[in-house]
């Protein structure tokens, strides 16, 4: 039986009917077409699907869409505002922190949660905040640099 779901996604009110077993990831990708949120694993272990739920980074593959009812979801597509890149997006691009880009959306969201809470993190704090986001392409070096650069530009 489908159920009504109301939530805010990237600042926009969304109303739709979903099956109760659907994850937030499935609804974002398949129903809303927000495919920036990626899927890299079957068991909540890669971080590619990370989104902010009421400002907190969560694995969208690991929560039911209905549990986001009435909440505020931010995906990678909502980071840039009025055509302006978020400082993290700018830093990732300028520092070469993006290679294949598959981990990038999740990385950006985890980094945003960190900088929102802790605007001037140490290198170790950055590494800890991103330790649930796997990247196979960068060795993390330029990602860490980019987050540090974004924190300094703020």
């Amino acid at each position: 039986m489908k159920k009504m779901l109301e939530l805010t996604v990237n600042g926009q009110q969304v109303n739709l009917e979903v099956e109760p077993q659907r994850t937030l990831q499935e609804v974002l990708r398949d129903e809303l077409g927000l495919t920036g949120t990626k899927r890299g694993c079957d068991d909540a272990s890669c971080g590619a699907c990370t989104v902010l739920l009421n400002g907190k980074a969560v694995l969208s593959c690991n929560i039911l869409a209905l549990d986001a009812r009435g909440k505020d979801v931010l995906t990678v597509e909502g980071l840039a505002k009025n055509g302006q890149l978020h400082p993290l997006q700018k830093a990732f691009i300028e520092r070469g922190a993006i290679q294949c880009g598959f981990c990038t959306p999740g990385m950006l969201i985890s980094a945003k949660e960190l900088l929102d809470k802790n605007p001037k993190p140490t290198e170790l704090e950055v590494r800890e905040a991103l330790s649930g986001n796997l990247c196979r392409c960068t060795g993390y070096a330029k990602i860490i640099e980019a987050v540090e650069a974004a924190s300094q530009s703020k």
Partner: protein, 755 residues
Amino acid sequence: MSTYIGKSIPRVDSLPKALGTARFFDDMALPRMLYARVLRSPYAHARIVSIDTSAAKKLPGVRAVITAEDTLKRKFGLLPRLRDQPMLAFDKVRYVGEEVAAVAADTEDIADEALGLIKVQYEELPAVLDPVEAYKEGSPQVHDHVKRNVSFTASVQRGDVEEALRKCDLVRHNTIRCVQTAHCQIEPYGAVASFEEGKLDVWSPNQSPFTRRRALSNLIGLPLDKIRVRRCYIGGAFGGRSDTFPAEVIAGLLSMKTARPVKITYSRRESLAATRTNHAAVYDIKMGVNRDGTLQALLIKGTLEGGAYLSSGTNATGAPGSAVEALYHAENFKYEGTRMYTNKTPSSMYHIQTTPLVMTVELMLDMFAGELGIDPVEMRLRNITGPNSVTSGGSVISSCLLKECIEKTIELSGWKDKYGKLPPGKGIGMGCGQSASGFPLGIRFGSSAFVKFNEDATATVISGIVDNGQGNENLMFQIAADELGLSLDEVALVNADTELCPQDPGSYSMTATFVSGNAVRLAAQDARQQLLTVASGMMEVSAESLDLKDHRVFLKDDPNKAIPLEDIVRMAFLKGTPPLGRGTYIPKPLSPKGWADIQAGKLYGQYGPTYTFGCAVAEVDVDMDTGKVKVDKLTLVNDVGFPINPMVVQGQMESYSGLVLGHVLLEKHEWDGKGRMLTDGLQSFHLPTSLDMPPISSNLMDGDDPAGPYGAKDTGPTGGVSGAIINAIYNATGVVVDALPVSPETLLKAIKART
């Protein structure tokens, strides 16, 4: 001076990736698209007695069910003689996870439910799960026609190595073994296929669209012009996306059957257990030196475990030998690689697959250095290959700044203040590496490109180049924009599309810069020349006296005399000579013999057209109570010729460092006694996280390759990081590593055994 060549400019593709709008195959949704799932073998080795799909076909929402009976029963393999992998199993299954049947349905859930309704009757056969067992007389045969399960052999030889070993002052004998690891791209595997009007379109992560088109044509039975492998963003490859996989064949067949688009998305589990692994291997190494530290003889026997099918095992079997012979000079050299079939997931090339061997050669050099009282740096300098040298396999190495890389790495890492002066548990080590830019690929060795101008003086580059994430596309933008006097946003790229683009080798052998980059350079230069010719008519001067830069053509001697590019382009159209540039680049074999008699497995002649080199220093901290290794810092210096985009090259060096650290310290596939992979998720197969990786100082020599575009060579798995880490562990603990990964338990045991 160039505007873009040689500059660390951000990659063009990073914007859509940062915005979340870059489309990977799984982000695609086509009208009326169906979803496919695959039924896989639960057995490592079994005869298929019967398959009954009738119940599955009746399930509402199921649109098609296929088995091998719906295929041409042809097999996949890189060379005709070596085709051994069916896309849907017939007669036998040879590993757990092998494709047996597939369903296309309205939703993935329905497809999954249908899989449960397919009845397969198997007759289980004894399986062989170990390469040593596999060779024994009377062992089960993975392929009926392959006696003793020898899948492939490859050898390189120079001089009389046994004799030379007898004459050396000192000889060492080490072994190293490693289990299977994985490429583990973060994007799981899959494909979208759409058959319409007699033509099949395919999107899937791949390293070589043209190679894939050829294989699909063989397997599905459509001619090349009726198959279009198309560009999509690709979430990493690392050598593991070079084969053609059942996913795209199955999606294609299902689409042909249903006349609807079909998407198949592998789970992480399927990606790990049913695509490819890195080879497990054992290397037995004898090295002989004289008292002055010069390498006299090197004898290497490698046994690789290849799993159920050959995949790119031909190259994988020879590559370890090639990795060593082009790095250190030994007058007497022999490498013999043997690849064995077992009933496990097939193994393919892997970007860093030569790691265990190269690392151990490095370790042995350090052991000799200690024994002889020679500094490890000096030990390397006495034995490395140099410019204009010939390797044991007969390759000529043209440009080589390895010596300079070593010197710079030593300086930047502060080696002299640290080596031999660190407290217990801390260690520093060095290592070197090289990689060939490409290897001969027969008729797919060369690349061609076109450049066409639009009437507003923007240009479109058409090149087969594929970008797996490493930045190949951006390279083409930089080259074309510079040659044509345009800014980056005035260049468009059409690429990785077999219908629209001329042939290209793909990006599976570190050739993108060298081969495809040269082709785009030549095409852009051709278009540029055409523009200069038109301009020379307009200005009534010779074309040779003109130059093109920043949207204008001007007199070299009097740069104020200029015409805007836009006017020249318009004139070219008006005159009926629209600027259309074309370029083809095929690396010249420098040696007369060409490379390798694949049939005989003998490797001789020019391997890569050029070679890239690097040196690394690693600093480690070993917890002597737990055996845990923390890499504190990596310092790398590479010779990639003239780097076209230093930031992108550094990114690739860091990428390679991450793969190596994972292989050396963390990653390991495990299997149960029935051949089932136990490590088929990211909770059990451990990739390095941001906490495992150290800060990396990546540096580049300012080199110049005589044949590379602008003097550039490709970045490869070059850096010597594995040797550096293993030598740093040796330096910290005295432990001679003989198996990968170096887990805390094994290292602790070895530390205890020494004290």
